[in-house]
């Protein structure tokens, strides 16, 4: 090989490695798609656990958390093949009986049923108690559908200490995510919590009850999911990614890769050949910091900033979106 050809080849290889997205791939990172809120016939779902697990496995998912009401569904029998590129994680959706709007939280990764705690007078104290109970049982807490029956507002949620997962985008048929004149949208609620300094990781979920409705139909499967960054496809690796907030939420948009190094937030979207993506960077109090049309964008952090500042990214393609978690900006 001539020296010039060798140099050209080296340059080509180096440029390949510098394309955003390939960095992590070469580091051995995987993006894995999962459902965090799923019901079966062990509570009020319409299909048995086997059918539910099979459906997600065959429809582009790498993991599934089964979260029946008030009971842990045994997942060992559902996850027999360790080499099928699909893992099932056990969980439970825990309610709080008593007067008032329903307060629900998922306990992700627990192996024994948590008994529903009684709620106290205040919704905020009740949900804090529920989250603490889930943590005590070794689960990752996810506060579910805060706007369902207007159960929990931002003031209630401020009683909880982070980090925790918040179901900002529950895709069930009665989620009320958008809010109304009197109620803040769940996305704005999330921004308020972040702006108050809380570590809250946003999730999108199916809250799947009716497998038979088919993909993309409210209460059916594949309406909302998370995509987590892991080094290997194991329950432990997935739980670790969820616990550190290393995932994004989506109801249809796929992100190739994103990273934040404290100065630059870089993101690359997987184009579906349809509508042109709008990449929006969002800061404290939901402020729009930058909007870029296209399949990739870079946001450079402004030098001066307030306490509890952050940047998060939302990618909009047609009527669907993906939401990254928020990255904190270091104070001056």
């Amino acid at each position: 090989m001539k020296q010039s050809m060798f140099l050209a080849l080296m340059l080509f290889l180096i440029s390949l490695c510098s394309i955003t997205g390939t960095v992590y791939a070469s580091d051995g990172w995987l993006w894995v798609r999962g459902s965090l809120h799923t019901h079966t016939t062990n509570s009020d779902g319409d299909s048995p656990p086997e059918a539910v697990a099979d459906w997600y496995k065959e429809n582009g998912y790498q993991f599934l958390v089964i979260t029946d009401h008030e009971t842990v569904t045994d997942v060992a029998s559902l996850d027999k093949d360790p080499n099928d590129n699909f893992v099932v994680i056990s969980g439970e959706e825990v309610a709080m009986p008593g007067e008032g709007a329903p307060i629900h939280a998922n306990a992700i990764g627990i192996t024994h049923t948590i008994k529903s705690p009684k709620r106290t007078f205040m919704a905020g104290r009740s949900v804090r108690r529920l989250v603490d109970l889930i943590r005590g049982a070794g689960g990752i807490p996810m506060v579910n559908h805060p706007n369902w029956y207007w159960a929990l507002n931002h003031r209630d949620l401020l009683h909880i200490q982070g980090p925790y997962l918040l179901e900002v985008f529950n895709m069930g048929s009665d989620n009320r995510n958008a809010g109304d004149y009197a109620h803040i949208s769940t996305e704005q609620m999330w921004d308020i919590l972040l702006s108050e300094g809380q570590e809250v990781y946003a999730t999108a979920t199916d809250d799947m009850h009716l497998l038979k409705k088919g993909a993309g139909n409210p209460d059916g499967p594949a309406c909302g999911w998370v995509v987590a960054r892991v080094r290997e496809l194991t329950p432990t690796a997935i739980m670790e990614a969820l616990a550190r907030g290393d995932f994004y939420a989506s109801n249809g948009v796929e992100i190739a890769d994103y990273s934040f190094d404290g100065k630059e937030f870089r993101i690359k979207v997987v184009s579906n050949g349809g509508a042109r993506p709008l990449i929006r960077f969002i800061g404290k109090w939901g402020r729009i910091l930058q909007e870029t049309e296209g399949t990739s964008a870079v946001y450079r952090v402004a030098p001066e900033r307030e306490k509890d500042s952050y940047v998060r990214c939302k990618v909009i393609v047609g009527k669907s979106a993906a939401w990254t978690q928020a990255y904190r900006l270091k104070g001056e």
Partner: protein, 329 residues
């Protein structure tokens, strides 16, 4: 009367005079009106006379009739000058040839303004539409920006204020709350304010259906404004609207609100059995303070950014709300 009781009496008189609210002592009133109304002159289902009568007999002091692309003559509807109810001429203009519905009301006009033709971009078309309305002497109101997802904050930013914008158009098909891909209209308003625009928020009925036998759809009595006026005349009402001296409501009534540069005071006229939350909102929609109760005071912090403002939103447990305009700091 001895000297002691005389002093007491004087002190008492002073104390009464100093009570909050009494200094405003009824030399003005809040006039309630709907800014967006259709009749059989466009796609409304009741004739102008019926529509005017409905509002007159349902606690309103004024009504703007805004038929699509057509001025409805209001002079024959406003026969009694002493009935405490006035009509104001208007029109809902569209943009001919636009891909999505770009609509704006012209408030206070007396002849039809022809709809302008679409320009290269929706933002440009909107800007032209607002200018056409201003040139004809009307007060422009940008209607239902989320209807057909026609106008985003980026497009509306192309207009210079002051203008009115419907943040609570109560027609059921206009997507005020937004969705996963689109912002709520209230957030759009905060973005416009945070960029220094003078935008006055309105709530309107966009009433099309006043047929009492077929309830449903865009019915009257859902969203309105209260304008501060000294007399119920079209001129006084238009002046109040033009200078933003009004608040928008879907059912919450305020006794008064005021801002003196340092303190923002709000006082609610409560409905029995309901509770209230008073929220003060600042730049980019930041929640500055929330107070439970029927009155609240927000005190401005010393340092603030350019284009900072404070506005109040009052939320009732029955789901109705009121929005004051934003005051600049």
């Amino acid at each position: 009367m001895d000297r002691k009781s005389a002093i007491f009496c004087i002190a008492l008189v002073f104390a009464v005079l100093c009570l909050p609210g009494t200094s405003f002592a009824q030399d003005w009133i809040w006039a309630r009106g709907n800014l967006h109304t259709h009749t059989t002159n466009s796609d409304g289902n009741m004739p102008p006379e019926f529509v005017a009568d409905w509002y007159k007999t349902h606690g309103y002091q004024f009504l703007v009739i805004s038929d699509h692309s057509k001025y409805t003559d209001v002079t024959p509807l406003d026969t009694d000058p002493n009935d405490g109810f006035v009509l104001i001429g208007g029109e809902e203009l569209g943009v001919r040839g636009a891909k999505r519905p770009i609509h704006a009301n012209a408030i206070g006009i007396s002849a039809t303004i022809p709809d302008p033709t679409a320009l290269t971009r929706p933002g440009k078309s909107l800007k032209n539409l607002v200018e056409v309305i201003r040139k004809a002497g009307g007060i422009p109101q940008v209607n239902h920006p989320n209807f057909g997802w026609s106008l985003t904050h980026r497009e509306i930013l192309e207009i210079q204020g002051p203008y009115l914008m419907e943040i609570a158009n109560c027609h059921p098909a206009v997507n005020n709350a937004g969705d996963y891909a689109y912002l709520p209209v209230e957030q759009t308003w905060d973005i416009l304010l945070s960029n220094g625009r003078t935008v006055y928020a309105t709530a309107t009925d966009d009433a099309h259906n006043l047929n009492p036998e077929k309830p449903g759809g865009a019915m009257p009595g859902k969203g309105w404004i209260y304008v501060r006026v000294r007399e119920i005349t079209p001129t006084a009402i238009l002046d109040g609207i033009r200078k933003g001296d009004f608040y928008a409501s879907t059912g919450v009534q305020l006794e008064d609100f005021s801002f003196n540069g340092k303190e923002f005071q709000v006082k609610v006229i409560p409905k029995s059995g309901e509770k209230y939350l008073i929220r003060f909102v600042g730049k980019w929609g930041q929640i500055l303070q929330e107070t439970d109760g029927t009155s609240a005071i927000y005190r401005v912090k010393a340092a603030h950014e350019p284009n900072a403002y404070v506005r109040a939103k009052v939320i009732c447990t029955d789901g109705t709300v009121a929005w004051t305009q934003a005051f600049r700091l």
